[in-house]
């Protein structure tokens, strides 16, 4: 299964978090939680991009 939807979903959430922080409508504690969530998503994105063995399989 292509990785596109996983990648897009995580990127959309990170963008949403950035917007929330920019809007400054949450408490300091909630803002800290959002930032941690964003960092976690970015790290998952990098891991997802590294997944796979790059095998070449021949079918006669």
């Amino acid at each position: 299964m292509a990785k596109d939807s996983d990648i897009r979903r995580r990127m959309d959430r990170v963008e949403e978090i950035i917007e929330q922080l920019d809007a400054d409508e949450v408490s300091l504690e909630d803002g800290h939680d959002l930032y941690d969530e964003g960092q976690e998503l970015l790290s998952e994105l990098r891991e997802r991009l590294q997944e796979g063995d790059g095998e070449v399989i021949e079918i006669e």
């Binding site: 990127m11 803002g31 991009l49 997944e51 790059g54 095998e55 070449v56």
Partner: protein, 350 residues
């Protein structure tokens, strides 16, 4: 048809054990070809394919579907002919068979060209093209975009051809994590349409294949006819998986290219298109997104720190100086009691 010449008598008999240089052997072949009366002034009918020209000469392949022969007409001679050749034109050529010694190649050099009409093969391809266009098989609405980050790409091509290695290298250059499933197919000759179509069906049925490349290296037009057949066109059109063609052809005349979701000129270009570059994506999308997040949080944190400092300062400023109110109240009570006691003593109550 003229009888084959007895060339043995004309050629120089090789001495036993003699080792010839390539030039010597080519000279010997040239002398056999040039001295063979059966190869002088031959007339041949066939279809013009793979036509190209430069300022010096016009080159093409004459084919009857089963066999082909390279041909060359000098540019100045062609200008004086009334013939207007293009791919698919059926012609009768009259000329000599010539052997090019340096390149070791044989060709027909016609001095006369008679145009018979459009070739059967070209006419059949044209009919199919019109029919498929009417059915809407070439419409943009039918195209689907391959995913940018496939986990597995299927490739239909010859396992023995160079195209598969070009495709593999290009895909793994973009993203080394992509699995590649190569389905062997015969890409030219009479069995090619069925072989290619079966390869597409096979990979399309594999649920974990995200996109498919149908490819082969370059070749003369007559070797590409499998990609102009309804069988291959139908396999591409009915596939649920996005299909990219890489047939090694520079124009858009091939029907397979028109039906496919995307047509790349070379196998390498197809490999580069089918998988997005992971490094480029990290550098252009993910790294900037992380920077944006860091910046947004820093600004957010600074704003809240100022806010907190301000609140504390306001609380400090509004707080009364001296002892807490409870001490004042206690002192007042004590003073009142003392006053009552003094008054009572003064009045002599106590």
């Amino acid at each position: 048809m003229a009888e084959a010449p007895d060339t043995e008598g004309q050629a120089v008999e090789p001495e036993a054990g003699e080792v010839l240089s390539v030039s010597q052997l080519n000279d010997r072949i040239a002398s056999v070809v040039e001295d063979a009366p059966a190869l002088d002034g031959v007339r041949c009918i066939g279809e013009v394919t793979d036509l190209h020209q430069n300022s010096t000469a016009l080159y093409f392949t004459l084919t009857d579907g089963d066999a082909e022969l390279p041909c060359m007409i000098w540019a100045n001679r062609y200008r004086n002919m009334e013939a207007d050749l293009e791919d698919g034109t059926e012609v009768i050529l009259e000329g000599d068979i010539d052997y090019w010694t340096e390149g070791g190649k044989i060709d027909l050099k016609p001095w006369e060209v008679i145009v018979v009409g459009d070739g059967d093969q070209a006419a059949a391809v044209e009919r199919l093209r019109s029919e498929l266009e009417e059915r809407g098989w070439f419409d943009d609405e039918q195209k689907q975009r391959p995913p940018a980050f496939p986990e597995r790409v299927g490739v239909v091509t010859s396992l023995r051809g160079d195209a598969r290695y070009d495709i593999q290298s290009a895909i793994h250059e973009q993203d080394p994590t992509v699995d590649i499933l190569v389905k062997d197919a015969t890409v030219q000759g009479s069995e090619a349409p069925t072989s290619i179509a079966n390869g597409i069906h096979h990979l399309d049925r594999s649920e974990d294949v995200d996109s498919i490349i149908v490819g082969r290296g370059g070749g003369s037009d007559s070797n590409l006819q499998a990609f102009n057949t309804e069988r291959v066109a139908e396999a591409i059109f009915t596939a649920n998986t996005p299909i990219v063609t890489a047939i090694g052809h520079t124009d858009d005349r091939l029907i397979a290219d028109r039906v496919a979701d995307m047509a790349a000129i070379t196998p390498t270009a197809a490999g580069e298109y089918i998988a997005k570059s992971r490094n480029d994506f990290l550098a252009s999308e993910i790294d900037p997104l992380e920077q944006q997040l860091d910046t947004a949080y820093e600004t957010f944190e600074q704003d809240h720190e100022h806010e907190q400092e301000l609140t504390e300062a306001v609380e400090e400023a509004t707080a009364p100086e001296g002892l807490p109110p409870v001490y004042y109240k206690a002192a007042i009570v004590v003073l009142v009691l003392l006053l009552l006691l003094i008054t009572a003593l003064w009045l002599g109550v106590i």
